[in-house]
């Protein structure tokens, strides 16, 4: 609690009170105030029912439109709802999976993944319809027809074992980040370490973006044998530390720390982290 309070204090300068943020989100005259308020409520984990209700309402917003036809406020509201962890937002987020805006769909998938539960799995599988052949770039846009990374990652972390056969072909998708996301999901769903070893290979590759993405994937699934490769891959220490934190915390939860003492594996990961500070 002390830390949360300090975060609010540190936000001075762009500071809001909880009441102001909710009021800013509810008004419709100034879209930029609403946009910022939605982000702020997520950032500071404001879990009050009034905040949740205002964010859910913002998922249907028609007033704030981007030049590309997108819905900036809906995107921010979906992201915030994922962070706030209130399950009452679940049906409204499911509704966003049909939104015309790619980035709203992506944010809603990530939010549903964070909320957990398997009710969204059929809808996510339906978004893979047509497989790799249908997973093409949208003409004139910097993205594919669906947010495949988010879909694959969510299916993996939500434990959608029935989707394994639909996911596997994406290991051969032409976009390397999509391959990474498929490998990560396949590891989570099958437990086969070969998929993670494939991600470890990416850490030796020449492309910084791919090394970053593989590192985050390995951290997210908690693949402990990757610790050394993450620590030595050429990338920013800040990202390496986040990836290693992911490995460490997965392991700590599996061994029920702090009820049980630290293992030598945990100590080794922390020794690697110490050197990156």
């Amino acid at each position: 609690m002390a830390l949360e309070f300090q975060q609010l204090v540190n936000a001075q300068g762009e500071s809001l009170t909880v009441e102001q943020a909710i009021a800013n989100l509810r008004q419709t005259a100034d879209p930029s105030l609403r946009y910022y308020a939605a982000w702020w409520l997520g950032r500071f984990r404001v879990k009050e029912p009034a905040a949740i209700a205002a964010l859910v309402t913002a998922l249907d917003d028609e007033t704030d439109r981007a030049p590309d036809g997108g819905y900036p406020l809906r995107r921010n509201a979906a992201r915030a709802l994922g962070k706030l962890g209130d399950r009452t937002a679940y049906p409204a987020l499911m509704g966003c999976l049909d939104c015309a805006d790619y980035y709203v769909r992506e944010a809603a998938i990530q939010a549903l993944e964070m909320l957990g539960g398997d009710a969204c799995i059929p809808a996510l599988r339906a978004m893979l319809a047509g497989g790799v052949d249908a997973a093409t770039q949208v003409t004139g846009k910097p993205h594919l027809v669906q947010p495949y990374n988010a879909i694959l990652e969510a299916l993996g972390s939500l434990g959608a074992r029935a989707a394994v056969e639909e996911i596997a072909p994406f290991l051969n998708h032409p976009v390397p980040q999509v391959q990474n996301a498929a490998a990560r999901a396949m590891y989570q769903l099958t437990g086969d370490a070969a998929y993670c070893d494939w991600l470890v290979q990416v850490l030796q590759g020449p492309n910084l973006q791919l090394r970053r993405s593989a590192m985050m994937d390995l951290g997210a699934v908690g693949y402990l044998p990757a610790a050394g490769a993450i620590a030595t891959t050429p990338a920013e220490n800040s990202l390496k530390l986040i990836a290693l934190q992911g490995l460490l915390e997965h392991h700590l939860q599996a061994m029920d720390f702090p009820a049980n003492p630290l293992s030598s594996d945990a100590r080794q990961v922390m020794a690697l982290m110490d050197d990156l500070l």
């Binding site: 300090q6 530390l241 934190q245 460490l248 915390e249 700590l252 702090p258 630290l262 110490d274 500070l277």
Partner: protein, 220 residues
């Protein structure tokens, strides 16, 4: 054959005239490898190039030069180039020269970039106290201790993690600080909101206890 200083001038010139990102990195590596005090001003200048590869190479060069680079690094911090400041703090933390104490204290407390606070927090614990006059050690360690305990409440987990690493090192260096550090670490194990920080605090406590018991054995 060229004199050492002429060779150095060639290496410095190569850094100044390199015209690609990769070329700069190579030239900086060569200059760092020369390990020559006269390279310090150029290496510090490289920290401000906004070229991470070159900055890493320059930092390595400055760190291996050690104490001789410290006065210039401390002066550099007055400059307005923020990126250069971050790298300079990192280099100072790695050199472990206690003349950097005040700068590390100020940075751990108030810098807005978490990667810089993180480096300063670790550096505060790992300063080479034996380089200070004996009479000054206690006050300097007390200041590092107060700052690190404050830093345990930083909003970013990785800065708190670094504070734990700093406190572990400081407890080994200062017997008088060890009790307060032990209590602060126990609080972190119980109350930190991030599991990785709790675990690192536990590892620090385990290490300190181990060290304490081996110390007792050697006394017996």
């Amino acid at each position: 054959m060229a004199s050492p200083s002429a060779e150095l001038a060639v290496l410095i010139k190569a850094v100044e005239t390199a015209d690609s990102k990769a070329g700069i990195v190579q030239a900086v590596r060569a200059l760092s490898a020369a390990n020559h005090p006269e390279a310090v001003p150029t290496l510090i200048e490289v920290l401000g190039y906004n070229n991470p590869g070159a900055a890493v190479a320059a930092t390595e060069g400055l760190v291996s030069l050690g104490a001789v680079a410290v006065p210039a690094l401390l002066e550099q911090l007055d400059g307005h180039n923020y990126g250069a400041r971050a790298w300079a703090i990192r280099a100072l933390a790695l050199i472990q020269d206690p003349r950097a104490l005040n700068v590390l204290v100020e940075t751990a407390r108030g810098d807005f970039a978490l990667s810089v606070r993180r480096a300063a927090a670790k550096g505060l614990g790992t300063l080479n106290w034996s380089k200070l006059p004996k009479a000054a050690v206690e006050a300097a360690q007390a200041e590092a201790l107060t700052t690190l305990i404050e830093t345990l409440a930083d909003p970013e987990w990785v800065v708190r993690y670094a504070a734990v690493v700093g406190l572990q090192a400081l407890a080994l260096a200062s017997a008088s600080a060890a009790d307060r550090i032990g209590a602060a670490l126990e609080t972190a194990v119980e109350q930190d909101l991030v599991l990785a920080v709790q675990a690192r605090a536990q590892m620090a406590l385990d290490n300190l206890n181990e060290n304490c018991s081996t110390g007792m054995e050697t006394q017996e």
